[in-house]
């Protein structure tokens, strides 16, 4: 493949992924409002378009038209940088996520993935660990007590749970013997899903992932009842929308990783005519990811928020030791085999 063709192909793939991602974020958010509404005996948004399906478009217009406020005494440069950082980092981790096997499309043989690097999982961990900056800088540069408190909470929470997140992934990495996400899915052929031997790791990952994305029951950084909205209290218009976007893209990434690492990615029974066999893997992948996204919404509608000291002691005294024990037991089993 020539360099030009490579660049062109990459550009097209990036645009397609970006389009799908933004649409997905818009409709996950609508689904969240609808489902949480039902759980609270309301109906959620119904007015804009049939069944409220155009609500995301109305929200987008609102975000663009709102006044863009910068508080007095804010550190202007960092205040602008923080939301950009959050969005860029969130989008960066999507690049290594494969959504299916190899395909032949319009005569081009390509993988359903932006780039397949050998250490894909490490890239995702690296980007997650950088994600703290968005939260911390936003809160600090806003020149507001609530923002600062929110970002301090957010920062310490994300640092604490990052550890268990990484440790929980070590089990599957050892079982698969690779850090490549594609390789990891290939290792789970014939229903050898890693959730079965790694059930402990799976739940540790899930808990840590909820904390990393600042979602209920770990949404202390934004805790609307006590901090206003935490680190993004002072943000409005598109800058706020960027934080919003980053949070939902992070949710999607985390769900994708859970699917790829523990639920066998796009693996599943293949049957039927050729066209069905071609789209089934991606369909399986989407179904599994949707399950995790529904779980996010379900938990939001069900659980109350943690207290801050509970959050910290749970992270350090329960999750980390459990994850370490899981790593030790797994390596012992692999060594004895």
């Amino acid at each position: 493949m020539t360099t030009t063709a490579f660049f062109l192909l990459s550009l097209v793939k990036c645009l397609v992924v970006l389009f799908i991602l933004l649409t997905a974020v818009a409709y996950i958010q609508l689904a969240e409002r609808k489902i949480v509404g039902r759980m609270q005996a309301r109906v959620g948004p119904t007015r804009v378009g049939p069944f409220g399906l155009l609500q995301p478009a109305a929200d987008a217009v609102k975000f663009i038209l709102k006044e863009d406020v910068t508080p007095d005494g804010a550190h202007k440069f960092l205040y602008v940088l923080a939301p950009i950082l959050a969005v860029v980092l969130a989008l960066l981790s999507v690049t290594v996520i494969p959504v299916g096997g190899m395909v032949q499309l319009f005569g081009v043989h390509t993988a359903l993935q932006l780039t397949d690097i050998d250490v894909g999982l490490l890239l995702i961990l690296a980007v997650t660990s950088m994600g703290v900056y968005g939260v911390v800088l936003a809160g600090w540069s806003s020149n507001s007590k609530y923002s600062l408190l929110g970002s301090l909470r957010g920062g310490s929470q994300m640092i604490s749970y990052e550890l268990s997140l990484g440790l929980a992934l070590i089990g599957p990495i050892m079982l698969a013997g690779t850090l490549s996400l594609r390789g990891m899915v290939e290792a789970q052929r014939h229903l050898h899903w890693f959730i079965f031997p790694q059930i402990v790791g799976f739940f540790i990952y899930l808990t840590a992932a909820f904390a990393e994305t600042n979602r209920i029951p770990f949404d202390l950084p934004e805790a609307e009842g006590e901090l206003g909205a935490g680190y993004h209290t002072e943000y409005s218009a598109m800058k706020f929308a960027m934080f919003f976007l980053a949070e939902y893209v992070n949710m999607i990434t985390v769900s994708c990783v859970a699917t790829l690492v523990f639920l066998g990615g796009w693996m599943g029974p293949l049957f039927g005519p050729v066209w069905l066999v071609a789209i089934l893997p991606t369909l399986y992948f989407l179904i599994k990811v949707s399950f995790f996204l529904f779980l996010y919404i379900w938990v939001r509608g069900t659980l109350p928020r943690f207290r801050y000291d509970q959050l910290m002691s749970f992270g350090w005294k329960v999750l980390v030791p459990l994850a370490l024990a899981n790593v030790m037991v797994t390596s012992l089993v692999i060594a004895l085999k």
């Binding site: 050998d118 250490v119 490490l122 640092i159």
Partner: protein
């Protein structure tokens, strides 16, 4: 193209390092250091060391520098006020700088040693790194981890030092007395 990228990110690393020294506010200095780490990671990547590149980001940019930024935020450190220039720095700085420059130039024009990395070399697999780390260099690796453990223990000891129990008891007694007096007055 790889050489161009290498030069761009090399320049970025140097610019970040200079900015680190020039900035007056500690948080901007810390962020410049993050930029340096990120640029270095890209250089590693260009030299085919994928694993090192991402570990560089996870450890330095994602863990150590986050703690730095955090501490600066918690202490709410402001801008550094101008201080009289240190005499020692003036005496030591220039000779050391000259020495470093000589060393660097001799390296560039001399021999880099047995192994040289070339641009666009094939990516180093993660497996061999683990092999050499846990076979050849097992002892240094373990010794380093013990060093870290000592550091953690030291931090815990420092952080767990509480006020003397007598003081706490005395305060409580006083508190009780005040309560009793208030009750008696009523």
């Amino acid at each position: 193209m790889q050489l161009t990228l290498f030069l761009i990110f090399g320049a970025l690393a140097v610019a970040g390092a200079i900015n680190l020294l020039v900035q007056r506010h500690p948080i901007y200095s810390a962020l410049s250091l993050v930029t340096v780490m990120g640029a270095l990671a890209v250089e590693y990547l260009l030299l085919g060391a994928e694993f090192i590149a991402f570990v560089q980001i996870i450890v330095y940019a994602g863990a150590i520098m986050v703690l730095f930024v955090f501490v600066i935020m918690v202490l709410n450190a402001g801008e550094v006020i101008d201080q009289p220039r240190s005499r020692i720095a003036a005496f030591l700085g220039l000779p050391i700088l000259t020495l470093l420059a000589i060393e660097l130039i001799s390296r560039v024009y001399g021999d880099f040693g047995a192994t040289t990395l070339t641009m666009g070399s094939p990516m180093v697999q993660t497996g061999p790194i683990g092999q050499s780390l846990f076979h050849e260099f097992l002892l240094p690796f373990e010794v380093t981890s013990v060093l870290f453990l000592v550091g953690v223990l030291g931090a815990v000891v420092l952080a767990a030092r509480r006020e003397k129990p007598q003081v706490v008891a005395a305060t409580r007694q006083q508190h009780d007395q005040e309560k009793a007096m208030a009750a008696a007055q009523r």
